[in-house]
Symmetry: C2
Subunit: 296 residues, 2 copies
């Protein structure tokens, strides 16, 4: 029934502002400010935060202080702090920092995978399999992004089958959660509903999340459509920060505070304090030069 969402009374929010959000910012943001952003997000009650990336600084200079950020935050009980790791070396660095969880990424689109990660999809799969293996042996959980699920700026629409194939492979490697990414805001409520619904039906162990980037507000219709498909895990970034440096025309992430507001108005619990998440968003926006440009 269209009232399906009424049977969902709680959702999980994964805030990616400190990594996916800040990553494309051209001006280096001081470590102390990254740390402050993370603390504000945790202060607001968010229980899972993407705090850094262990990609080589030559590719993503913004994230070169990943170690200092991981070591500089005050870890709170019950909060999961994770970081993006593109390869085994990244995983090692993340484990040295004592992180309990890491995040991997690959795309449904060969062009985007190549551009973003400098590897073919098959090579990415092999690397992620190794990451899962080593992480598993060390008690570290692995979450896995699939990018360009709802469309690729270079290749257009990618077959649903590719996303299904990758999701099942990642689950097979041991990833506990798969996040379906709309990297450049190409989704619409129909695809935002049916693709997650289809993939959810194919997974048996891993949880499923959605990660919609902005399209001038359309992302909220997409998030709501995904909720109606039974999705209860939502990736977003305070302040609506972000974008992909290697995808033309990419805009920021779904704005956390507005998504939380939406759920709050609907009577769906997020565990997040509205006033504080708005404050975290304002602080995040104050760190950004990209967002200000986007207005004009």
């Amino acid at each position: 029934m269209v009232n399906f969402f009424q049977s969902i009374d709680a959702v999980e929010i994964f805030d990616v502002a400190p990594r996916d959000g800040l990553q494309p910012e051209p001006d280096f943001i001081p470590t102390s400010e990254k740390i402050k952003l993370i603390e504000l997000i945790a202060d607001a009650g968010c229980k899972k935060i993407e705090i850094a990336s262990f990609t080589h600084p030559k590719w993503i200079p913004q994230m070169r202080d990943a170690k200092a950020v991981c070591n500089g935050i005050t870890r709170r009980e019950g909060v999961v702090y994770n970081a993006l790791v593109p390869n085994l070396r990244g995983l090692e660095l993340a484990m040295e920092c004592g992180l309990d969880e890491v995040v991997t990424i690959l795309s449904t689109s060969e062009s985007h995978n190549k551009k973003n990660l400098n590897m073919s999809i098959d090579d990415s799969l092999r690397e992620i399999e190794k990451i899962n293996s080593v992480a598993g042996k060390n008690g570290v959980r692995v979450r896995s992004y699939i990018a360009t699920v709802f469309g690729c700026p270079m290749e257009g629409n990618i077959s649903r089958e590719k996303a299904i194939e990758l999701a099942m492979a990642l689950e097979g490697f041991g990833s506990y959660e798969i996040s379906l990414g709309d990297t450049t805001g190409m989704a619409n409520p129909a695809s935002a509903h049916t693709i997650p619904k289809t993939i959810k039906g194919k997974l048996s162990k891993a949880g499923l999340a959605v990660h919609f980037h902005k399209y001038h507000g359309l992302e909220f219709a997409n998030n709501f459509a995904a909720l109606q498909a039974g999705i209860t895990r939502f990736d977003c970034a305070v302040g609506g920060l972000g974008g992909c440096p290697y995808a033309p025309g990419a805009k920021g992430n779904t704005q956390t505070e507005i998504l939380v507001e939406m759920f709050s108005r609907m009577g769906i619990s997020t565990g997040i304090n509205l006033e504080r998440i708005y404050a975290a968003g304002k602080y995040g926006q104050s760190l950004s030069t990209l967002l200000t440009q986007a207005c004009h």
Copy 2:
């Protein structure tokens, strides 16, 4: 079923940018520019456009050139041009300009009605009944807004029963279409679904539309939820222009080009050319000082 919207393959777009959109702008926009905006919206294929308001200029100085705008546009076959009329005098002026349709307004909230129209709801009902009577005798159609349906910034949530009562009264007066207004962007997908669904069930002759103002993108989830309730008529404004001068914190209308984009991606026909509606939106935004302020 949650796939209910798949049985809808076409919707109607009512662009209110030239009136609801421009109305709160503090700097007077030249008549020629208002006319150009209207022409661009019609060029894009929009079949119903709110072009002016015959409210007294002392209340809404931006709309003081209503007559010149109505007489200055090139009327296109198959396009409905209408104007807001607060009273019989306004209706007369609209008819002198040869308009085939006028729009009335009242609120579910006494406070907002008083602030916006300087009348009680009952007085508004009486005036609208007269407007319908005179209009009907002159072959002029009447469309009726109900404001603050999804919440009032001064009174909070208004009972659903009030909106139902007003909708049925307006239908009884002869209004051919009722538009449910979310004046200050307080709706959420649950209310955006159930209130229109409930009211649709109570009407027998009049059509039902929705008119969601912005809340940082949440309006798209609201519009989509309304679609799922069977609504096929959507009020919006190119460029996302607008706001209510008498409602604190009010933001603009749903941005037409993004709403049209959403429907287009879903395979739902609007009859509107995307490229041209984006162009109309850009032009509309160039006329605005309010929107630029909103960014900061």
